[in-house]
Structures are given as structure tokens and as C-alpha cells.
Amino acid sequence: MVENRRWIDILTHVVLIVGIAIVALPIWITFVAASHDAVRMTQAPLPLLPGGHFWENFTATLFGSGLSGTEIAPVWRMLLNSLAMALMIAVGKIAISIISAFAIVYFRFPFRMGFFWLIFITLMLPVEVRILPTFEVVADLGMLNSYVGLSLPLIASATATFMFRQVFLTIPDELLESARVDGAGPLRFFWDILVPLSRTNIAALFVILFIYGWNQYLWPLLITTDTSMTTIVISIKQMLEAAEQTPQWNIIMMTALLAMLPPIVVVITMQKLFVKGLTETEK
């Protein structure tokens, strides 16, 4: 826009600031609540400025046994569980779908389109729909309360397969042909050409899938009965309902803050690649 009038400038800024305020307010409140002691948090009105107990709460939450009077695992343990689950889901989904897309795009085999549609149909079967049979299978395989059980059923991904398929379709055929003339077999072509060329797309998917994995609620809730396997997202809810006490808001909010951290770190470190992966079309 070449519009250069002053009041438009002011207006756009006002709109933006209001927008940011709306998004940031809950996070601010979380932060403020995490920096007061338990007593202050039960008094009205709620504080709007940070208090002086931030580090105290921080160490108590992260390394203490979390909420006093409950047998919830320490928060660092739950962060670790969440991290393991989110990483396994993200890496697993990417690995599986890039390989299936490779097979579907570059190999001629019987029922190729059949498999393609089969994968497509799984789009209509998210975890929530198939949760009972999936639970049954995972239980029968003895994978309850394990990282594999947490992540494996969530790994198959039609969406990511499609995305890689689209990416591969934009890679010119001549590249495959010149790799063949150079003597590269299918696996070399995959590792040396396809994977590097899909780098930005892999990064973008990683960010999305990591957050997807991190935010999983229903499935982990179902299959983890052992408190040492609980994920952080679940534990926040459990803390709220912790038996017969007023919620300890300072600890809960600190946990929420900690739970927000890893996704933020992932987004910030991969931001550049992420944007490239979603916008770049030229190969």
C-alpha cells in the first residue's frame, strides 16, 4: 500500500496493539499468577502486576513434587514425557509419510492407486474415532504406559504423506533421470536428492507436528495410568482437580508456562525454515 496518511498509520497501529493485547493478556495473567505465592492467589482482586516469588515457584514446580499433597510426578518428568512423545510423533510421522510418498510417486507397483486411496481414507479416521479399537490393540500388545504406546498410534499421517507427494511432484523428472544417468539407485536418489530438496518442508511439518504431538490430550489420558508417564498437558488438568483442595494457582500457572516453552522454542528456532517450507515453490 502506498497510502501515507497519518491517521491511517495510527489506526493500523491501534488495531494491531489491541489484537496483540487480546492475544497476550491470558499469557500475561499466567505469568503474573506464576510469580505470586499461593496465599496471594486466593485473595481478590487478582493481581495484575508480577510478584516476587517467580524463581521460588519455578524451582518448586520443576524439581519439587509439583503440587503438595498429591502423588503427581515432578514437572520435569512430565515435560520429559511430553517431549519424548511429541518428538516421536513428529519424527515418526515425517519418516513414515516421506517414505510412503516416495513409494507412491516414484515406483510403479500393482495397486499403487489403491494404496494411495487407502492412505487417503485414513484421513477420515482420526484417533478420536478409532480410539476404542486402538486402545484394545495397544493394550493387547502390552504397550500401555510406554512411550511407544503413547506415540505409535498417532504416527500414521495421510496429511503429511500428501504434502510430501505434492513436494515430490514439483521436482522435475529430469532430476530423477540425471540421477539415474549418474548411477544413483532409488535409495541414493532418496537420500541425496529428495531429502535435501524437501528440507524446508520437513522443517515446516516438524513444527506443526511437534505442536500437534505436544498438545495431545485424549490419547495420553487414556493409556497412561502410571503417574510417572503422564504428560504435562494432562497434568495441568489433573492439578486443577487435585483432590479436596483449593487449586494452587501459582504452581499450576507455572506449570502452564513451562508447558508453553518447548513449542515456543521449536517455533522460534525453526521459524525461517518454517516460512520457507510453506511458501517456497521453486525447486
Binding site: 522435475p172 544417468v181 549418474d182 544413483a184 536428492i193
Partner: protein
């Protein structure tokens, strides 16, 4: 180094045959240009030789091996693609080294070969750049470099210059020619540009709708085209074609004019005469009703019709001329400049 033999090659996609019984013997070190209009099957033929396209029928020999069932990498060929097909994420050096790396050459050997190729092609300065940081011409050189480092038995080129501007194309054409002479590697080069074909090839294979129309040296194709198609395709400006009736060596044109020739053909024929072979001659039998002029500086192209007919006729006159439209010019043509083709089949007849 190797000779190549194409034996009765055919290619079908489903029920449509796109190449029909292609024969050809290519000698060691020869530069062959496959030329023809778009869609005639040039790329298909080249890709069958490369091993990128399955062979429906017939055989391809490279050296003394039948290569029909070999992978491209086993055929000892290198190919240069129209859009270069450089690996975008590798530097120029890595692009050239990739094939050697797969073949497990030693580091020192790879470095030596890349250096040698870079020197020949004068791309030493950009070895550490990525392809997207290069101009079209430079990418073209890298693509050639990638072919050279392998020291293959055969070079295959699929319209490698068609993405370059006209001036660069002429320059690269010359360089490719020199390079091929210097390395002495048997080469097959596909193009639809007849000038490129004439200047590059030791011999030209003219393809039309999947048939080989003629396979011979540029001069042979120019002076004794085997069919109306070749005659019209080779040479610029294009040959004139006049319907005529042949009898006893005399050719009678539509407008009744009679041209003396040595042809043994009789019946309805197509007479071909190149514009540059029409000789201005006030007593000549071929009368041209002038329509427009094209001034090329060194010569002038006179476009018009054969007097009294609607058949196009073009003559090429030396120097700058100024001839008003509507005027009639008379020409004659020496018997050796007359090409007689069967009217129905388009094949050369009568000599």
C-alpha cells in the same frame, strides 16, 4: 569411444507407435544430429538410447554390447538435458562430482577430473556456487561439465541450447562442436533448429512423425533431399515447391511454362527449386509475380506467386534491390538445381 547401431527400433505408448523402424549406424567419434519438427519423436529416440525409456522393439548397440536391458548408468553414456537438470542443492563442484562419487572414484581422481573439466569449460571460478547463482549459459556449461567428467563413451544432448538467447546459442554451438572434436566422443544431439543441425552435425538424421526421412551429411541433405519433407525442412529460405507434369525430361508447370530437365520421371510430380538457385534471366521460363520484398542486406528475398497461379514462389537476389509490387520477373534454373518428387508419396524420383 564407441560406435552405435540402431536396429529396427520402434517405440509404442499403448497402442500408438511413435517411432517406426529406425535404423542407423553411427561411427566412433561421429557427431550425429537428430532433427525434426516438434513431436516427431527425437527426444524419445534419444531417451531410448540413454535407457530412460523402454525399447518396444529392435535393438540398440553401444560398442559391441546390446544395451536394451541395461540401466542408464551401465551404458556408459552422459546426457545433457534441455533444462540442465542440475541438482539445485549441490554446488557446481558437487554436481560434477556426484556421478564419480557414486562410482567410488578416489577423492584425488574426482578432484583432478573436475578441475580438468572446469578448465576446459572455463567454469573454474564458480565451482563453489549453487546452480541458482549462475546464468543460463553458465548452467549450460556446468551441465556439460557433468557429462565430461565421466569420460563416457557417448554424449547425448537433448536440445541443450534452446533456453539460451540467440547470440549465446551461436557461441555455445561452436563450443560444443570444438569440444566434441577435441574429446572425440561419439555424440548424438537432438534439435528442432535446422541451422543448428546443419552447422553441428557430421551427419543429420531427419525424423518426421516417427519415420527416418533421410540420414546423411548436411551437404547431401541440401543437394539431394530424399523427400519433399527434407527438402522443405533443410535450407533457409525454404525451397519452392511447384506442381508440375513430367514427360520425356520436360517439366510443364501449372501456367503452361516448360522447363528443360534431366529427370526420368513421368506423370504428376512436385518440382522443388531453392530460391537461391533461381537465376534472373529475361528469357527464362519461370515467371514470378512480385508481391513483397525482404531486404536482408547481402541479398533480397522476392516473395510472390508463379505468374498466373496462386502457388507461392520465392527468389533470392544478390544485393539490395528495389522492385515494385505487381511486376513480373523471369528466371531460369539449371537442371542440376531441380529436385523432382513424386506428387503422391513425396519421395524423390527420376534421377
Amino acid at each position: 569411444m564407441a560406435s552405435i547401431t540402431l536396429e529396427n527400433l520402434t517405440k509404442s505408448y499403448g497402442d500408438t507407435e511413435v517411432l517406426h523402424h529406425v535404423h542407423g549406424q553411427i561411427e566412433d567419434g561421429e557427431f550425429i544430429v537428430v532433427v525434426g519438427p516438434s513431436g516427431c519423436g527425437k527426444s524419445t529416440l534419444l531417451r531410448m538410447i540413454a535407457g530412460l525409456e523402454t525399447i518396444t522393439g529392435g535393438q540398440v548397440h553401444i560398442g559391441d554390447r546390446v544395451v536394451n536391458d541395461l540401466e542408464p548408468a551401465q551404458r556408459d553414456i552422459a546426457m545433457v538435458f534441455q533444462n540442465y537438470a542440475l541438482y539445485p542443492h549441490m554446488t557446481v563442484r558437487e554436481n560434477m562430482a556426484y556421478g564419480l562419487k557414486i562410482r567410488k572414484f578416489s577423492k584425488a581422481e574426482i578432484e583432478a577430473r573436475v578441475r580438468e573439466a572446469a578448465e576446459i569449460l572455463e567454469i573454474g571460478d564458480y565451482l563453489d556456487r549453487k546452480p541458482r547463482q549462475l546464468s543460463g549459459g553458465q548452467r549450460q556449461r556446468v551441465a556439460m561439465g557433468r557429462a565430461i567428467v565421466r569420460h563416457p563413451k557417448v554424449f547425448l544432448f537433448d536440445e541443450p541450447l534452446s533456453n539460451l538467447d540467440a547470440k549465446l546459442r551461436v557461441q555455445m554451438r561452436l563450443e560444443i562442436r570444438k569440444l566434441q572434436k577435441r574429446l572425440g566422443v561419439t555424440s548424438i544431439y537432438v534439435t528442432h533448429d535446422q541451422v543448428e543441425a546443419m552447422t553441428l552435425g557430421d551427419r543429420l538424421m531427419v525424423l518426421n512423425k516417427g519415420y527416418v526421412e533421410q540420414f546423411g551429411s548436411p551437404i547431401e541433405l541440401y543437394s539431394r533431399p530424399a523427400s519433399v519433407f527434407v527438402a522443405g525442412f533443410i535450407g533457409s529460405p525454404a525451397m519452392n515447391f511447384l506442381p508440375a507434369h513430367a514427360e520425356g525430361g520436360r517439366l510443364t508447370l501449372e501456367n503452361g511454362a516448360v522447363i528443360a530437365s534431366t529427370t526420368a520421371a513421368s506423370g504428376p510430380v512436385t518440382l522443388g527449386i531453392r530460391p537461391e538457385h533461381l537465376v534472373a534471366d529475361s528469357q527464362g521460363p519461370i515467371r514470378l509475380a512480385v508481391d513483397v520484398l525482404e531486404q536482408l542486406g547481402a541479398n533480397t528475398l522476392v516473395h510472390g506467386v508463379l505468374a498466373g497461379t496462386r502457388t507461392d514462389l520465392t527468389a533470392s537476389l544478390e544485393g539490395v534491390r528495389d522492385i515494385p509490387g505487381g511486376q513480373e520477373l523471369a528466371f531460369s534454373a539449371p537442371p542440376e538445381a531441380l529436385h523432382v518428387f513424386d506428387r503422391a508419396t513425396g519421395q524423390r524420383v527420376g534421377d
